[in-house]
């Protein structure tokens, strides 16, 4: 029985299911699904404060909890070459209390509301994220404002926080997936912060509180920030709390980070890990970002090729060959920048064979369109997954902030499912040819060089 036969129209399916039930105690083919229920992206209230802070409130959900997330365009992308992880240190220092609250007071106050406040730092953005029992939503907004806009950044905590970051760095540098990512990113993004995944120990040791405060001053400000609140709350009360807590915030004006000029060249980069039982593989290349008109077709193509459990590469190297446990491809996006990459941790002895199969699957998709049946299943998966992604508070905040960050219209969400269903087999082939040009892919292998070198030498020059 072919997988795609299961995707029937509702009318035909009903007939099949009824007939099957009448004949046998257990039907030999699956009952087809009913008619999809209506799905709409939840309504949001949006407003902008006079200082430029853009606010989105989304009443949502039946569980009495809320999430408050402030996204600030203050990630690592604004670091200079000698400031790697300075943004991370800023994030750590922001957790150490405010002008009026000690770190302990912040933690206890958040806990009393059944939640916590954390500061996280990513490539483009920093986030101050909190959760709370629903009845404390407005109070949590005020606490987030205090942490985000009036951090004390005490000098006294600097040695301890640096020691923590140095320890995290040491552990990250010993983790094969992190080692692979570091090599991949530093190869693709030369002279850009996206390529600087790790600082040196000395660089990190040298940072001062003055540097951290300066970084905060030049990157944190209302015009560079968006506030999202999702959960069960009274919109008017939370809006009042937002206006009261954030209206006085002054800070850095908007700024545009330099977009990278990614480099790619078909070559193999081996990081030697003698005795490793597996090789950690990344095969990747620059591709289009979410603002491109072909992005949704690329999402569908990725899900079919390597980006889902039902994808061709996963079926091949996991479910057929057993080379690996958790392979997967993804489109990794930053501002006006993206790359496509396939990851896999494979048995050392199967490193060459794994490369062969991954390139075989990319080439096959470039040379012939997928069948209508196969594509139909993948389109349904991507469309269904979109519904799942928009069915939780954090999921909704993630979707909306992604849209805002990439400057996409809200119609992007309402049109998404129909765009997915419009992708044709020919389009998938075209996308694979245009945007997954594997003859230009960077290949990173973290593993036992003396065993894998011979296996992989036909797949590109070894660097």
């Amino acid at each position: 029985m072919k997988a795609a036969r299961w995707i029937l129209t509702a009318v035909a399916a009903l007939t099949v299911a009824t007939a099957a039930q009448a004949q046998t105690p257990f039907p030999s083919s699956p009952p087809a699904p009913a008619t999809p229920k209506d799905f709409t992206v939840p309504e949001a209230t949006r407003f902008t404060l006079d200082n430029g802070l853009r606010v989105t409130l989304v009443p949502y959900g039946s569980v009495p909890r809320s999430n408050v997330v402030l996204v600030v365009n203050a990630g690592n992308v604004f670091e200079h070459a000698n400031e790697v992880w300075l943004a991370d240190l800023v994030g750590e220092l922001m957790m150490e209390g405010t002008a009026t609250r000690s770190a302990t007071a912040v933690s206890e106050e958040a806990a009393t509301m059944g939640g916590s406040v954390t500061v996280g730092v990513g490539a483009d953005n920093a986030t101050v994220a909190a959760d709370a029992l629903a009845e404390h939503t407005a109070a949590m907004v005020r606490l987030v404002a205090d942490v985000a806009t009036r951090p004390a950044m005490p000098e006294s905590e600097l040695p301890r926080l640096k020691a923590d970051l140095l320890r995290n760095l040491s552990i990250a540098r010993s983790t094969p997936q992190q080692i692979a990512l570091e090599r991949f990113r530093s190869t693709m993004y030369v002279d850009h912060s996206y390529g600087r995944l790790f600082p040196t120990d000395d660089m990190l040791q040298g940072y001062t509180v003055a540097q951290a405060r300066d970084y905060y001053a030049r990157t944190f400000g209302p015009a560079r920030a968006r506030l999202y609140v999702a959960g069960s709350f009274d919109v008017a009360a939370v809006e009042a709390a937002v206006r009261e807590a954030f209206s006085g915030w002054q800070g850095a004006p908007t700024a545009t980070a330099p977009t990278p000029n990614p480099f790619t060249e078909r070559a193999i980069h081996i990081v030697d890990r003698p005795g490793a039982p597996q090789t950690t593989i990344i095969i990747g290349l620059p591709t289009i970002d979410p603002s491109h008109e072909d992005y949704v077709p690329l999402v569908v193509t990725n899900a079919l090729l390597g980006g889902s459990f039902m994808s061709r590469i996963t079926r091949n190297i996991r479910e057929d060959k057993g080379y690996t446990y958790s392979p997967g491809s993804q489109i990794s996006s930053r501002y006006r920048d993206a790359y496509w990459a396939q990851n896999a941790d494979v048995t050392t002895a199967d490193t060459g064979a794994s490369l062969k199969e991954i390139f075989y699957e990319i080439d096959r998709l470039q040379s012939e369109p997928p069948s209508v049946d196969e594509l139909e299943g993948v389109r349904n998966y991507v469309a269904g997954n979109f519904v799942l992604q928009n069915s939780s508070r954090v999921g909704i905040i993630n979707q909306l902030s992604l849209l805002d960050f990439h400057g996409l219209p809200t119609s992007y969400l309402s049109d998404y499912v129909s765009k997915v269903h419009a992708v044709t087999p020919e389009k998938v082939q075209e996308i694979a040819r245009k945007y997954i040009q594997d003859d230009k892919a960077i290949i990173v292998l973290v593993g036992d060089r003396k065993i894998i070198e011979e296996q992989v030498k036909d797949f590109g020059p070894i660097k």
């Binding site: 959900g61 039902m310 519904v387």
Partner: protein
């Protein structure tokens, strides 16, 4: 003044207690069924939990319960290899399975209109498997690579979730390598697979849970249609999985050649499920280690800077205090620097433990622990679009034959007094009730 006070109070007024909808049935073949309606989004979770975890697996086949879980995706009577996965995904869903101490679960998170299709597929594999030698060999390869990526090729691989139970427990069922020795995984045969299925995968040893935007009467009818005819089998009684009372502290050092910094885990045998002490321990967990306001975070991180974080809990990294039936540990663990000795950290740790064992917690701190416990219970139920609630419903159906217990947890925690916390800490946080696991970086040292 009075007005201000009233306004202050009403702003703090807790919303009405949150309850999870629960409808419980048992079919003639012994299959338990829990239905729970939640119309937040047009999605549903369909799950089947079998009352067999990795504690209980053949002694010469470590890792077999988990390997078997993989075989459940390899083909049944009407769904060949890959077809189960395709059926779920091409209907817009995601799926997974996992093996834990006391259960093995299989679940799909799907658009709500596809529930019947999912139930048919789960029933098909409860009726029986149809797999080949080739499928088994393939999944032996996959599972060995799972062990490699998560344990053998990873710094701190298996720490402490896999390694600590093996040294803290004395009963083989609780103390063996449940991910499996690679040669034990290789030794598994198709006969082993058939026998395990026949022994443990009876409807009378399982629960089906469906939660989401569903019509409960219709869903129950589908479950009767697809699962009702599956014959029941007598499941052998559980072996003795009890742990004796620990009378002496254990201290174990392990070398990790991939690690660059030392690590430390301390595990205490946990009070028995659903006893007053068990609920007290749930609040002790909040007081000691959950959140940055917790005593251990404040002492070890904020004040002394011995580590960057302290992580902990019951059934740590594998679940929570609710979804485990047999003996478990309450564990705290952390990573530190070579310049800081394990003894210094243990001394700072012990100061907090002894405080809890000698002086009662204030009403205010107890109230904060209760609030955090309540909030994280809600957070657990909503995890992964309601899968978290399904997990608790399944656990309470399988272990206690009463899924509605999910709605009676808050009062049980609220009954805990400072005196009970003191008594529970004195008995269960005894140094003689614990195992200290110390991980030392191996000879390779820092890769840098």
């Amino acid at each position: 003044m009075a007005l201000a006070l009233t306004a202050g109070l009403s702003a703090q007024q807790p919303s009405s207690p949150y309850t999870v909808d629960v409808d419980y049935h048992t079919l003639d073949n012994g299959l338990k069924v829990v239905l729970s309606r939640d119309t937040t989004a047009p999605v549903a979770v369909v799950a089947v939990y079998y009352n067999i975890g990795f504690r209980i697996e053949p002694r010469d086949r470590t890792g077999f319960a988990h390997l078997f879980e993989h075989m459940m995706f390899q083909g049944s009577e009407h769904l060949g290899k890959n077809q189960f996965i395709s059926l779920v995904m091409s209907n817009g869903g995601v799926l997974n399975g996992s093996t834990r101490f006391d259960y093995t679960n299989y679940f799909q998170v799907v658009p709500a209109h596809t529930v019947e299709t999912m139930l048919w597929a789960e029933a098909d594999r409860m009726w029986g498997l149809n797999i080949t030698e080739e499928n088994l060999t393939n999944q032996q390869g996959v599972v060995k690579n799972e062990v490699r990526v998560n344990v053998l090729n990873q710094p701190y691989g298996g720490f402490p979730w896999l390694t600590l139970p093996q040294v803290a427990n004395t009963n083989w069922y609780n103390a063996h390598n449940f991910y499996g020795a690679l040669d034990d995984l290789d030794a598994a045969t198709l006969d082993d697979v058939r026998s395990f299925f026949k022994t443990y995968y009876s409807p009378s040893n399982a629960v089906v849970v469906v939660r989401g935007d569903i019509d409960k009467a219709q869903t129950l009818e589908w479950i009767r249609t697809y699962f009702g005819g599956i014959p029941r089998a007598d499941v052998p009684p559980l072996p003795d999985i009890s742990e004796p009372r620990q009378e002496e502290e254990k201290r174990v050092e392990q070398e990790d050649p991939l690690a660059t910094r030392p690590a430390l885990a301390i595990g205490y045998h946990h009070p028995e499920r659903n006893t007053p002490e068990y609920f007290a321990m749930g609040l002790i967990d909040q007081i000691l280690v959950q959140g940055n306001d917790s005593r251990l975070y404040q002492a070890l991180v904020q004040e002394k800077g011995l580590t960057g974080d302290v992580t902990g809990g019951a059934n740590v990294l594998l679940g929570n205090m609710f979804n485990i039936n047999g003996p478990t540990l309450w564990t705290a663990f952390l990573f530190h620097d070579a310049e800081t000795s394990a003894d210094d950290i243990i001394a700072a740790f012990d100061a907090q433990i002894e405080r809890l064992r000698t002086s009662p917690v204030s009403a205010e701190e107890l109230q904060r622990a209760l609030t955090k416990r309540r909030s994280s219970l809600y957070a657990e139920t909503e995890q992964f679009l309601g899968f978290g609630a399904v997990d608790l419903l399944a656990s309470y159906a399988l272990f206690d034959d009463d899924p509605s217990m999910i709605n009676r947890l808050e009062p049980r925690f609220a009954e805990v007094t400072p005196e009970l916390i003191l008594e529970t800490a004195r008995e269960y946080l005894r140094p003689t009730n614990r195992t200290i696991l110390i991980v030392k970086p191996g000879k390779k040292g820092d890769a840098q």
